[in-house]
């Protein structure tokens, strides 16, 4: 087969780029554990409370160990349920120390919602029947807005909360 010498150059360039891309992808998936946020953990959307993590008393921020936190919440039209504070008011602001490891667990009883901590890599789709999980280290202090970024209905714009990362 005859190939023009320029053709050999761009074929090498193209195949080389593909190899580099696959190596980075493989490194991220197998060494760093990057995976889709909804990895097949199912839940009955009509009976979320039957699942330990989503009982009303377990919602919101929980410290499980030194520098280890879990945030459980239920996204529903049109609210993020982080549980209630000591006065019985709904929690809309959570505070986590910088550098801690946080596991977010979110589910929904109704329609598809989004869960995005704006400005970070915490960005998930929340689907009825599934538990979306994402574990991350919050490094940069600041106040982040949590927003729903999947259009879920007329009250979509009212679904927000704040996350404060403090030093």
């Amino acid at each position: 087969m005859h190939l023009h010498k320029y053709e050999k150059i761009w074929l090498t360039f193209g195949i080389g780029s593909l190899v580099v891309f696959l190596l980075i992808l493989g490194y991220g998936a197998f060494w760093k554990g990057t995976h889709p946020q909804s990895h097949g953990v199912t839940i009955d959307p009509n009976n979320i409370q039957a699942y330990e993590d989503f009982k009303p008393e377990n919602l919101g921020l929980t410290k499980v160990d030194d520098n280890q936190y879990v945030v459980n919440l239920i996204a529903s039209a049109f609210n993020y349920d982080f549980g209630k504070d000591d006065d019985g008011a709904p929690v809309k602001h959570i505070r986590i120390p910088a550098g801690s490891n946080v596991l977010f667990q979110v589910t929904t009883p109704d329609v598809v919602h989004g869960f995005n901590v704006a400005g970070t890599n915490v960005n998930m789709m929340v689907e009825p029947g599934y538990i979306s999980q994402l574990e991350t280290v919050l490094k940069k202090p600041g106040i982040y807005t949590i927003v729903c970024n999947e259009y879920c209905g007329v009250g979509h714009h009212m679904m927000y909360a704040t996350l404060e990362v403090y030093e």
Partner: protein, 46 residues
């Protein structure tokens, strides 16, 4: 007569100039690579 025409065509293919094609392929390739690594760097830094 017919063989003469065939020979001429063959010569034309041998000297086809692909310099412009090479440049445009490389420009497109660099744009794709730079934007991919830009997005990847954003993912790693957050």
């Amino acid at each position: 007569m017919a063989t003469k025409i065939n020979k001429q065509k063959h010569v034309e293919n041998e000297t086809s100039n692909l310099k412009g094609t090479l440049i445009s392929v490389m420009v497109l390739g660099m744009i794709i690579l730079i934007s991919w690594f830009g997005v990847f760097a954003l993912f790693l830094s957050r």
